[in-house]
């Protein structure tokens, strides 16, 4: 009898211990998430809801909420040709910058991924754009693009108004953005490449696979999580690119580089209209959210995790 009682006690003790650890394990993820969520609540979610609130009213020149007007701001914006223009310009900009950024980043990573001695300096050079702020990069490139003293026209023997001609301005700003992105894209994709186990590549070489076969059937699938992440970040960064537009073209010429986030900045900090700027921000957020949804749907199909 005693043994049974003792055994039962042992079992209950074990069960208690297990449920304690079970509870602890259950709570663990929430505890781990807590610091980030707290910071986000204070510095992202709270301001976001404030923005939402402001978008539904009228504000005065100081940014103070005056009266509630419902969706009027949204109607005003969505029917304004300037806003539609900004949307189109933004979408163009996203396409012009993301695709080259990823492709060139991948090429750079592949180029640098070799065993040749003495190439650490070139890896640093590939990543240097990351050390340059958007303001600095814009000032440097602004000088290179300058109509009178710019180096680019001299080297190419052209006479193009890189930032003054509406045909070229968006391409020029996109080019600078791609240059700025090269460092980040290179670093992350390179890190992803380095994680591919040597044996897999070696064994496929032994099997007689050509470089391109290796690239498309082994390398790219194995780094697809990194690529997915990089495409996602490139797109999101493109939507939020501000510094280059501000310094290089100020949204012009003729609004040809007036991306959405710049239009928001102007509306809030230049025109002093926080109500419509808030509405534009909410619309931008919705656009980005939809894009993200699409990308995550694709993640399920196209991205391979081991």
């Amino acid at each position: 009898m005693d043994e049974i009682i003792l055994a039962k006690q042992k079992i209950t003790k074990l069960q208690l211990k297990k449920s304690k650890t079970n509870l602890k394990t259950k709570l663990e993820p929430y505890i781990f998430l807590f610091p980030s969520l707290l910071l986000f609540s204070l510095f992202v979610y709270y301001p976001f809801f404030k923005t939402l609130y402001m978008s539904l009213g009228l504000t005065n020149a100081h940014g103070n909420f005056q009266e509630f007007i419902g969706l009027q701001n949204y109607v005003e914006i969505l029917t304004s040709p300037d806003f539609i223009n900004s949307l189109i310009v933004t979408m163009k900009f996203v396409v012009f910058t993301t695709i080259p950024s990823i492709v060139i980043g991948l090429l750079l990573a592949l180029l640098a991924n070799n065993k040749v001695k003495g190439l650490s300096i070139s890896k640093v050079m590939f990543a240097v754009p990351i050390a340059v702020s958007s303001a600095s990069a814009s000032i440097i490139w602004g000088m290179i693009f300058h109509p009178s003293i710019g180096m680019l026209n001299t080297i190419l023997k052209t006479n193009i108004g890189w930032l003054l001609d509406p045909q070229w301005a968006l391409l020029s700003v996109s080019f600078v953005t791609i240059w700025m992105n090269l460092g980040v894209n290179f670093i992350f994709i390179f890190a992803g490449l380095k994680n591919i186990p040597e044996e897999i590549l070696e064994s496929s070489s032994i099997d007689g696979a050509s470089y391109f076969k290796k690239l498309f059937s082994i390398i790219i699938p194995m780094i697809s999580p990194t690529l997915f992440f990089m495409v996602f970040m490139d797109i999101m960064n493109a939507f939020q690119s501000f510094g280059q537009v501000n310094i290089l073209t100020n949204g012009g010429p003729g609004n040809s580089t007036n991306v959405l986030v710049f239009s928001i900045y102007r509306e809030a900090f230049f025109n002093g209209r926080f109500d419509t700027a808030s509405a534009q921000s909410i619309i931008l957020f919705i656009v980005m959210f939809i894009m993200a949804m699409f990308q995550f749907r694709y993640e399920k199909k196209g991205v391979h995790y081991s």
């Binding site: 009228l58 504000t59 005065n60 020149a61 100081h62 940014g63 005056q66 300058h146 109509p147 009178s148 003293i149 006479n159 108004g161 930032l163 003054l164 509406p166 100020n250 012009g252 010429p253 003729g254 609004n255 102007r266 900090f269 230049f270 025109n271 002093g272 209209r273």
Partner: protein
């Protein structure tokens, strides 16, 4: 072990920043509570938007003030360019962490007045019967509404024509006679145009940046108003008038004619780009603020001789003058009369003849105080660089009536004008269309402003 290292670093960083946080917080607290002087000097903060060499010169003036007396210490803080500084001012007012003295650009004048967060300088003038007769009347007129001077003009400029005297000589033009009207500009530009073997233009005759300030100045030159209700000065403006009174149309027609002629360059909206083109010899004439003169002379560095002239008339029959640009100093109402008095003392110092003489010699802004012209520093500077005289002459040739408009939405209105002129020059719309489109945007902005800022 890594975790411990990380947490150690974090702890150190957080502690350090908390300590500095504590320090600053107390200072903030003290600053806001100082109503008694108690043998300790009053500290006031001064927010400005002067960078580069202007910032260096400004800091010297502030240093001079602090050294000249023991009761007040002024801390000058750069807050970005004029737009950024104004935005910071707006936000700071919510949390009461704003400055005691604010430098605000000319087009922010109406906003500052409407904000009711300032103490008009007139109050202090009346209180001590301060004599303002030595200050330039045109400058005072700009910042005066309803016979009340709201702020103290500090760094003021007018637009002038810069031209390359050496290029003039080469083209057979008289280097001491700059063009007086846009018609003369057109004919002179034809002679100044230079092309290389491949037909690419190496030197344009003339260029003006697509800068709405110049647009406004040309309106004044023609004696036409920018907005209704006396340019927003006899009452709040409700619409712009430049698209209806013909002034805008005459100007834009001329502007388009110039650029279409092929001998006039278009370097976009940024004045700096046109300025760079001039310094590099890419254009023989251009329009800019007088405040750029020192920088232009330094940039040219003797490569060619620089001449200056009045802003050209649009038509030969124009009789108007010019208004000013630049910024002024405002005393903020922080509900602390001791600090406001200190701010007033500081303002008086900043427009004193000696300080204005230094400011003029080191920047290119002309002296606010007429007495500065009697000082050696200014006389020497004028002797060395006679080009500075043009702006002064032009200012004195204008009357206080030629002061610019007052609009609460000037920045937005300017941007509308610039974008539409850009489109016009690109052949996408006619001058009248450009004016009407710009007016539509401006009027809608004015309307909203008047509604929300009663």
């Amino acid at each position: 072990m890594k975790k411990r290292l990380i947490s150690k670093i974090l702890a150190v960083v957080v502690t350090v920043s908390m300590l500095s946080g504590c320090g600053s917080a107390t200072k903030q607290g003290d600053a806001n509570k100082a109503t008694k002087v108690d043998g300790k000097p009053v500290t006031i903060t001064f927010w400005h938007g002067m960078g580069g060499n202007l910032g260096v010169a400004l800091n010297k003036l502030v240093k001079d003030f602090n050294a000249s007396q023991k009761d007040i210490i002024v801390t000058a803080q750069f807050q970005g360019d004029y737009d950024a500084a104004l935005n910071k001012l707006k936000s700071s007012q919510v949390s009461n962490s704003g400055p005691d003295v604010m430098q605000c650009y000319d087009i922010g004048t109406k906003f500052m007045i409407d904000s009711k967060a300032v103490v008009p300088v007139q109050n202090f003038i009346d209180n001590e019967k301060y004599d303002i007769s030595s200050l330039e009347p045109n400058l005072l007129a700009y910042y005066t509404v309803d016979k009340k001077l709201n702020s103290m003009p500090f760094n003021s400029s007018t637009p002038i024509l810069y031209y390359n005297k050496t290029a003039f000589k080469q083209a057979g033009l008289d280097p001491s006679t700059p063009p007086k009207s846009l018609t003369e500009v057109e004919s002179m530009s034809k002679k100044l145009l230079k092309k290389d073997a491949s037909g690419k233009v190496t030197q344009y005759g003339y260029s003006m940046p697509i800068y709405a300030w110049l647009f406004e100045q040309f309106m004044i030159k023609q004696g036409q108003s920018y907005a209704n209700n006396g340019n927003g000065r006899t009452g709040d403006a409700t619409t712009v008038e430049y698209n209806k009174n013909g002034g805008g149309l005459t100007l834009l027609n001329e502007w388009k004619k110039l650029v279409d002629s092929g001998s006039v360059g278009n370097f976009g909206r940024k004045t700096a780009d046109t300025q760079n083109a001039f310094m590099a010899g890419n254009t023989a004439m251009y329009l800019d603020s007088t405040a750029s003169l020192s920088a232009v002379l330094a940039g040219v560095n003797g490569k060619f001789e620089v001449g200056t002239g009045f802003l050209p008339k649009v038509s030969d029959s124009d009789k108007g003058g010019v208004s000013i640009g630049g910024a002024s100093l405002w005393i903020m109402d922080n509900k602390d009369t001791i600090k406001q008095q200190a701010a007033w003392k500081f303002l008086k110092f900043m427009v004193s003849p000696e300080e204005q003489a230094y400011w003029n010699a080191n920047t290119g802004y002309f002296p606010v105080n007429k007495k500065a012209y009697e000082l050696k520093a200014v006389k020497d500077n004028l002797a060395k660089y006679p080009q500075f005289q043009t702006a002064i002459d032009q200012l004195h040739a204008s009357t206080p009536d030629s002061r610019g408009a007052l609009l609460g939405v000037f920045p937005e209105s300017r941007a509308a004008v610039e974008t539409n002129i850009e489109a016009m020059l690109g052949g996408q719309q006619s001058p009248q269309q450009a004016l009407d489109k710009a007016a539509k945007i401006s009027n809608s902005a004015i309307d909203k402003y008047n509604r929300t800022n009663k």
